[in-house]
């Protein structure tokens, strides 16, 4: 590492731009390898699957609305140098705890949804704080620690809602609880807040044949604005500094641990809200499993969008959701159509889905290596 240290204020995008003009195009291409590769895969998949285009577009709109918020919640920890936050699973659990409360209180519609968003904040702040404390003790290994923390938190979550509810936590609601009076049932019906946010604004305004969840897209837009504004604030700049080099940041008087804690807490709260948006769209929720779906797929999506563990932008997130979910929609049918056996479609899809994550990480590692090599030559 004999290259000059970057000053904390420098934005990472600029460093890519600082490469000599002749290499500019190559630099851009380098960033685009991963999304381009997947765009081509999507294209092939769409052709092979031969889906009804209306179904496909509708499905993509739904999934953009459903997942973008969750994926966007990953950006801030990446800026702060914490890598991809597998801990959003814990945020999702906080969101679900809030949903259980509002379902128990029978508050529905948009007020119910907003109340759930409000209730989830303290839960997410506390769990986010605890997550941050653990991650601060595992610097450099945040991703794997966060991943395992998710499993641990899952155990605590099951303990609370399967054993403590009805025993230590007084609650009685035969619709939600098991017949023994202890523990919640495995499905919770969210019909009361189903599409509460999706249909909150201009629900009758359609775009051609497609129903657009305007309010959800508005929320996603606001989060994009917040994220880009946040990176320009003092706190945001401090996060960048910490993300680029913890030691330099510490020397320049930044409280590194505190900044990292804040980044994780923000991400956890956003993860909780993201889960609320996801579940209000789905309409039912698996008490003990819905959160498991969150971390891995959000991270896969942002990686496909061209993000890496040290750099992620809003565009990475949005493009990633688009590409990842297009692939998910088309790949089972593509596999089935190409090979003619229904279950091969499923194997083809899981091969793709999990292969994607590996390929995205490998392409990123390859690029980093190449960049480092070209820098050394200079």
């Amino acid at each position: 590492m004999n290259e000059p240290k970057i000053t904390p204020q420098t934005l990472p995008e600029k460093t890519a731009g600082q490469v000599k003009t002749g290499k500019k195009f190559e630099g851009i291409m380098g960033e685009l390898y991963v999304p381009l590769f997947f765009a081509v895969l999507c294209l092939l998949g769409i052709v092979a699957a031969g889906l009804n285009p209306r179904f496909l577009l509708n499905e993509i709109i739904i999934r953009l609305a459903r997942n973008s918020f969750l994926v966007l919640s990953l950006i801030i920890p990446v800026i702060a140098g914490l890598g991809l936050n597998f801990g959003i699973v814990i945020g999702a659990m906080s969101g679900q705890a809030a949903l259980i409360i509002i379902t128990h209180l029978e508050i529905g519609g948009l007020p119910g949804f907003l109340l759930a968003a409000l209730i989830s904040v303290p839960f997410a702040l506390i769990t986010g704080y605890l997550t941050g404390l653990v991650l601060n003790r595992a610097k450099g290994r945040e991703m794997v620690t966060g991943y395992i923390l998710g499993f641990f938190a899952n155990g605590v979550y099951q303990l609370i809602f399967l054993v403590l509810v009805g025993t230590l936590i007084p609650m009685s609601n035969p619709k939600m609880m098991l017949s023994s009076g202890i523990g919640l049932r495995n499905t919770i019906d969210l019909i009361a807040i189903n599409k509460a946010l999706d249909n909150a604004l201009l629900s009758s305004v359609r775009l051609g044949a497609f129903k657009i969840p305007w309010a959800t897209f508005l929320a996603i837009g606001l989060l994009c604005l917040f994220t880009s504004y946040f990176t320009k604030t003092k706190l945001g700049q401090q996060m960048r500094a910490v993300g680029q080099d913890r030691h330099i940041a510490a020397v320049s008087g930044i409280n590194v641990d505190r900044i990292r804690l804040i980044a994780i807490m923000i991400s956890t709260v956003l993860g909780a809200w993201g889960q609320l948006i996801y579940l209000q769209n789905i309409g039912t929720f698996n008490t003990y499993n819905s959160h498991e779906q969150v971390g891995m797929f959000s991270i896969a999506a942002i990686l496909i969008g061209g993000a890496s563990i040290s750099k992620a932008t809003i565009w990475n997130a949005l493009v990633g959701v688009l590409l990842f979910h297009t692939l998910f929609v088309v790949s089972p049918l593509a596999g089935q159509r190409i090979l003619g056996i229904p279950q091969v479609g499923e194997y083809f899809r899981s091969f793709l889905a999990y292969g994607i994550i590996a390929v995205a990480l490998a392409l990123h590692a390859w690029q980093t290596k190449k960049k480092a090599a070209s820098r050394e030559k200079e």
Partner: protein, 378 residues
Amino acid sequence: MSKKVLILIIAVVVVVALAAVYFTRTSAPEVAGGAKGFKIGIITGTVSQNEDEYRGAEAAIAKYPGLLKHVTYPDNFMQEQETYIAQITGLAADPEVKAIVVNQAVPGTIAAVRRVRETRPDMIFITGEPHEDPPLLEREVEVSLIPNQPARGKTIPQLAKEMGAKALLHYSFPRHMSYAQLAERRDLMKAECEKLGIEFVFVNAPDPMGEGGIPAAQQFILEDVPRQVAKYGKDIALFSTNCAMQEPLIAAAMKTGAIFPEQCCPSPTHGYPGALALEITDEIRGNFPAIMEAIDKKVVESGRAGRFATWPVATGYLHSLGGVEVAKLALEGKLDLNDIDAVAAVISEVAGTEIKMERLSNNGNFYMYIVDSHIFGK
């Protein structure tokens, strides 16, 4: 700069992809709809989850060529619920599909059914082995077929007693114990055991959907059964709520001499062929009496006559084939789905053995059935 390029590329890809879809769509080979003017969609697991459902669907396709559209749901259905929902909505996107058989109806079914009903309110849904909460599900789908779990809470201990058991071991884990019917069945089993003077033992096994996956769960069973047999003696009946645990359970019972009254989903093909190294040749495939005979021979050869039992028909196979039969007759106007006796008659005929059916409540057609067990070597 890179953002603009990225957006441009994505836009081009989407446009080209959609154009490609339009061009390929017309040339896509369509399955002949048959003269009946309707098609039936069927979604099952792949053979890696539970082979019976998939083979049942294959048998239905062989019986009614051109009538069915068969797709599969993800092996990791708990984590990939969005894909599961998209597979069902994808089937419903074909206007010729007038009924969908979902076997097994894994979590996410309610959400999928509601989504389909937004555009296709008249779709007929037949679900096999539903996982979600029965009181919630029965209001959403036309017919559900499931072994009568609460009743089995009594019949399994009775059968175990008949086979000479002095203790009954129940393997499960918290996620399954949050399924209302499985929890209820465990409580009934415990009460029935006390009545019959059998010791009831509950052992927590690792969740196959947990961090260790299926291998960890199977390993645990293979290791734990000899321990339990050493503790309680050979006359202990083994039972587990999870499909993946049946094969190691049977193998361990074979080795230690314990009693095995029936599987979680009773069937001659569930666990037995693998554990007994039984070859399912083309002549006996789908022929349940022949499979029963082959198992009988193996069990007697191994000197374990009277220690093993099961139902003479595979429930997963029955739900696929019977579900299609029921859907077809209903679409042709020859069957009233609310008439439990008529549905039971159709299912009995498909099963080739008599079936006793019961309704869960008057809120829907949640049909629970029971079949008499067959003890091998008797």
